[in-house]
């Protein structure tokens, strides 16, 4: 119970600090909390946010799906083939530590100004961590798991499905979590340049006309999206853990 009280105090302190900042720097610099929430309610109740949110969310979902499929399959292949994993892993780490925003002009040149460039940019952000985590998870599968599976006469597909994938599950979930967050970042940055819709466009638009209330409202929506993603992942992990625990107990009971 005390932890909730502590959290409430923390949120209250942040609000007070925010209010103080808007008082001392003026609303031209920082919008007051009340004005921000008012704008947020207005954006939602007039339906103005709808098409923008839709654009951002659809780009995000598509880029996460693409990044998940490509990242997991490449990561699995590299993880299972030891030599290629050792060759490619440093290269992937090097690419993922690049400031990818500098690659955006190239993406725009190749994919054009439409939604595909936003999806591609989200994909670039998301696919590398998913690949790295899957690679690591595949490499760290204990050898005796695979040997036991072979001794028990499981074929390759069954070994992959029943033994290796469950053993890699936690690594894959961490990778997907990081990948999905970074893909959202990529989509938003993509929308900030050369877009007509999306939350990133709204943010950039607010910057251009110095509409501080809209900036803060969009920032709040983005933070909320990030927190919602984390809650979703935690829920998935919880459900998954219970499920795998149950199948494990069934297995040992039979």
């Amino acid at each position: 119970m005390r932890i909730y009280a502590d959290r409430a105090v923390a949120i209250f302190l942040v609000l007070v600090l925010w209010y103080q900042l808007s008082l001392s720097y003026g609303t031209d610099a920082v919008a007051a909390p009340a004005a921000t929430f008012q704008r947020l309610v207005m954006l939602i109740s007039t339906g103005f946010i709808g098409p923008h949110l839709n654009f951002t969310l659809s780009s995000w979902v598509i880029s996460v799906l693409l990044a998940g499929v490509v990242g997991m399959s490449l990561g699995l292949l590299l993880g299972l083939h030891r030599a290629s994993g050792l060759v490619f892993e440093p290269l992937i780490i090097a690419v993922s530590s690049l400031p990818k925003v500098t690659l955006y002009p190239m993406v725009l040149l190749i994919c054009g100004l439409g939604q595909s460039s936003k999806i591609a940019f989200g994909f670039i952000h998301g696919v590398l961590p998913i690949m790295l985590f899957t690679l690591g998870a595949a490499r760290e599968i204990p050898v005796h798991y695979v040997k036991t599976a072979r001794t028990l006469g499981l074929n390759r597909v069954a070994t992959l499905r029943r033994v290796m994938l469950p053993a890699m599950a936690s690594g894959i979930v961490s990778g997907m979590r990081l990948g999905a967050s970074l893909a959202l970042l990529g989509v938003i940055i993509g929308e900030m340049f050369g877009a007509q819709r999306g939350l990133g466009f709204l943010l950039m638009n607010a910057i251009d006309i110095n509409d501080t209330a809209q900036m803060a409202a969009v920032a709040l929506i983005l933070i909320f999206l990030a927190l919602a993603l984390n809650a979703l992942v935690r829920l998935l992990i919880y459900v998954f853990d219970r499920h795998s625990l149950r199948s494990f107990t069934q297995l040992s009971a039979s």
Binding site: V87, S97, P99, T102, L103, L109, F193, L222
Partner: protein, 258 residues
């Protein structure tokens, strides 16, 4: 034996990179890719060489480096203090840990316009974005390092009467060094990414700004030359950090006896 196999992997890697560059060069020279979309690697190097001779570009590079360095220093100090505080007060940790562990998914740059509004359109908001991107990795690793010190170390130190500063220097520091190095490496990467991103979005100076300027100017050659520069810089920074980590960790055991 392991070093030999690693060296042969280095060779394969080099071969892969060179053949990729060769294919790219071929594709551009043969006109398979439009010159507006992709520039051959040799031309990138050539343009970069010319750019490096202009004073304005050198000034931009210097600005980006100084911003990234300042952001890193502030983020490391802030992160270490925060990590230590979180280790000492579990109530603070209970509140902050969930926020910090999902920090990377909060789009920090959404706050950038507000930072500009109250810090001015100068280097400070750029550095602030670098700090905001980097400090959480440092704080989490500091806390993790402190939490993971085996109880036996603390207890034997107490039994032997090692307290206060010697305790910090001879027991805690060597024990948390691997975590600190991990945090430092991540913080350096994030600070660099944050600074370049902030410059790219809205800043009148720096490498990130130079790239977005070249793009808006349809100057594809300079754009790719600068991208190449950033790739070279960030890869060498990574390499240097790994070397530092290796050195520091090798001398970990003798650290306290200095």
């Amino acid at each position: 034996m392991s070093t030999r196999s690693h060296r042969s992997y280095d060779g394969i890697r080099l071969l892969l990179i060179t053949s990729f560059l060769f294919l790219l060069e071929l594709a551009c020279q043969m006109g398979w890719v439009q010159s507006q979309v992709m520039v051959p690697p040799t031309l990138m190097v050539h343009t970069l060489w010319k750019l490096l001779h202009s004073d304005a570009m050198v000034a931009d590079i210097a600005i980006t480096f100084s911003e990234a360095f300042q952001a890193l220093v502030i983020a490391v100090m802030l992160g270490m203090v925060l990590g230590w505080l979180m280790h000492r007060w579990s109530r603070l940790s209970d509140v902050l840990y969930p926020v910090l562990s999902s920090w990377y998914s909060i789009p920090v740059f959404a706050l950038y316009p507000m930072l500009i509004a109250f810090m001015g359109l100068n280097q400070r908001p750029v550095i602030a974005i670098g700090v905001l991107m980097a400090f959480s990795a440092m704080a989490l690793n500091m806390r993790h390092g402190l939490q993971a010190i085996p109880t036996v170390l603390n207890k034997s130190a107490r039994v032997m009467g090692v307290r206060n500063f010697p305790f910090l220097l001879h027991v805690q520091l060597p024990a948390i060094l691997p975590s600190l190095m991990t945090g430092f490496k991540m913080a350096a990467t994030y600070a660099f990414i944050g600074v370049i991103m902030a410059e790219f979005i809205l800043s009148p100076r720096g490498l990130g700004h130079a790239i977005s300027f070249a793009y808006n100017d349809f100057d594809t050659r300079s754009m790719y030359a600068l991208m190449l520069l950033i790739i070279i810089v960030s890869t060498s920074v990574q390499w240097v950090l790994i070397q530092i980590e290796r050195r520091v960790l090798a001398h970990r055991a003798t650290l306290g006896s200095l």
